[in-house]
């Protein structure tokens, strides 16, 4: 076991994958010589050569579009979009091409690739460095969407994503890169080196896509979340004193509906927490599923705590980023219901 930040774990996953499979290639803006603006690919070019890890022109369309061609050829491209906020120029290639190639060619051409992108707020990045666009991917048949919440999962999920035969969108909560930020911006953030999940196996291991994990068992209510909000949820639950079960979904699509149903059937109450804007966010889909499959067990309406339906502001960062207090209010409310 080694101590790693989430950045180191992601870097390590790349290295292990490239070591194991010569067809894994890495490209993106500033990922080559420099190793990425978040350093997630540092060292790969010098270790594996400029043909397997290189800088691209600033064209997200070009990055994903050429990756589709490479994947069709037989390579396994792992590409980085510098910030999720900049994935839109590549959205057509992701939605119309990568996601549908297997279907429209009846399996003759496939698109095994991973599109990595840092997501989420909490870094005073304002509207173009803070977005959480996961729902724009979960609505698209043919894609898988993964959001890790810690270094250990990040490495295992990324290796599983690279091994997956279909396109996987891999969303990295940038606020977690260096530590498990719990939303208390006025307190120092603990570092991963002190956190159990910062302990990462240096070898090859996969964490299966489509499996959630229960991070805190509880009987009173179920809190479903993913990414940076996992740590906000855990903090809020501790502070609330209510015995809430906290589930880290890890993969949004395919969704671990069995784990969700089992927990909500047990607790009868459910809160969904995410950073993305509320309306048509992924929480809507979860709420729709939960009320349908757990209707007769629910003792209160399923509540959603999410980002406001506005662009992400700068000065008002902490009024936007879903806070432990907002989560605690929701816990109190769902318990009343």
């Amino acid at each position: 076991m080694a101590r790693m930040t989430m950045i180191e774990a992601i870097r390590d996953a790349h290295a292990v994958a490239m070591e194991a499979d010569p067809d894994v290639v890495v490209m993106g803006e500033d990922v080559g010589f420099f190793g990425g603006v978040f350093r997630c690919t540092a060292g790969l070019q010098s270790r594996f050569g400029v043909q397997r890890c290189f800088d691209t022109p600033i064209s997200e369309l070009g990055i994903v579009g050429t990756a589709v061609g490479m994947a069709a050829y037989g390579l396994k491209p792992v590409v980085e979009i510098q910030f999720a906020d900049y994935m839109y120029p590549a959205y057509d290639q992701i939605v119309s091409e990568a996601a549908r190639l297997r279907y429209r060619s009846a399996g003759e051409f496939t698109c095994p690739m991973v599109v990595r992108m840092p997501t989420g707020g909490g870094i005073f990045g304002a509207q173009t460095h803070s977005q959480s666009p996961e729902a724009l991917f979960t609505h698209v048949a043919g894609l898988k969407t993964v959001v890790p919440s810690n270094p250990r999962d990040a490495k295992g999920l990324l290796l599983a994503a690279i091994a997956d035969p279909d396109p996987v969108i891999f969303l990295e909560p940038k606020r977690l890169y260096n530590g498990p930020f719990d939303g208390h911006f006025d307190r120092p953030t603990e570092s991963w080196s002190k956190h159990e999940l910062g302990e990462v196996d240096p070898g090859y291991y996969e964490i299966p896509l489509g499996k959630a994990v229960t991070l805190r068992e509880g009987a009173a209510a179920t809190l479903l979340t993913y990414g940076a909000m996992v740590h906000v949820a855990l903090a809020a639950v501790e502070e609330s004193g209510v015995d809430v079960e906290v589930i880290d979904l890890r993969t949004l699509l395919p969704l671990d509906l069995d784990a969700i149903i089992a927990s909500v059937t047990k607790t009868g109450r459910c809160i969904i927490l995410h950073e993305a804007t509320l309306t048509s966010g992924f929480g809507a889909e979860i709420a729709a599923l939960v009320q349908q499959d757990c209707f007769y067990n629910l003792e209160a309406p399923v509540l959603r705590v999410a980002g406001w339906d506005t662009p992400y502001p700068h000065a008002q960062e902490w009024d936007y980023f879903p806070s432990p207090d907002r989560v605690k209010r929701a816990i109190a409310k769902v318990m009343e219901g």
């Binding site: 579009g65 390579l75 279909d166």
Partner: protein, 410 residues
Amino acid sequence: MHEEIPPRLHVPEPAIRAGDTPDFSHVTIPRAGEVRRPDPDAKPEDMRDLAFSIIRVLNRNGEAVGPWAGSLSDEALKDGLRHMMTLRAYDARMLTAQRQGKTSFYMQHLGEEAISCAFQKALRKGDMNFPTYRQAGLLIAAGYPLVKMMCQVYSNEADPVRGRQLPVFYSSKEHGFFSISGNLATQYVQAVGWAMAAAIKGENKLSAAWIGDGSTAESDFHGALVFASTYKPPVILNIVNNQWAISTFQGIARGGAGTFAARGHGFGLPALRVDGNDYLAVHAAAAWAVERARLDLGPTLIEYVTYRAGGHSTSDDPAAYRPKEEGKSWPLGDPILRLKAHLIQKGLWSEERHSQAEAEVMDFVIAAQKEAEAIGTLHSGNRPSPREIFEDVYAEMPPHLVRQRHEVGY
């Protein structure tokens, strides 16, 4: 500074619209054989002139002249004629089938047969085309079975893509034909990526990207040229300028540029402009670009000048926006008649032989059609199962799709 002139929106208009008499006097056509042929390893900046002329091999008398002549054997020429005739007969039958309601939609190649048929002959197994919906000649020239093509058009049980795709959206990895997307231009940049992969693996394969004049305005065209210009992979960037994009004439996409080939100059790419109705010229230009790719000299941009003689698709009636007779007065003529004349001029062919060949080709196409229709058409016979809706979304069907499939009970 002179007196100011208030700006106007300059909206390009075609010389002639529906109702008027066709006029191509603005199109300057160089004499066959006139355009020079640089060595394949010549520098792009030393051949800019080639983007502003038209490489032509067949002259008015059906003779093959000039430095681009001689890339094909007599047998290859006869094969080429048969491929083009087959494509034209195939189009005719499928158009009729669509009118008869045997399928939903069709797109023909009338007047553009030479481009895809001749280009394919410059490739070899392992190379990959990223075509649009108007290059079925690539499949025919590669020997892909007509019956399979028809089963795709009919979306019947034997359709290789299981009824999922619009008619003419073929796919055959084995024949170097990438699955067609309904989204214009997206495959152009993918072709560059495919060639980048070949370069990363150091394997001697090349890709051919295909796009129409109108679609060069799309973002993927730029992405493709940027990545091709930067990494110089073995890709041939083809632009089929058939003068029209549905109802929109090529001037709207071309704007102030003299030609589409000239787009390559902004990227330091060698750019050729070719008579797309001249089977020999198309093949010679393609072979030249292929040689560059096989010598790791990087990408080549080729504009094929041709004319979309038919409607855009079975949903389109050109009479609404261009003169009915415009096609007939197209100065580059008909690709089949021109190659036929060449073969006759060479003593390899005759009027009799040609009418006989027409009959043979039509019999061949009709036989294939019978076979395909015996399996089924869009609304009758053996059709793909509704289960196919849920297959191949992913390699492995995830729980939510299993659940949905069960809901419909198949």
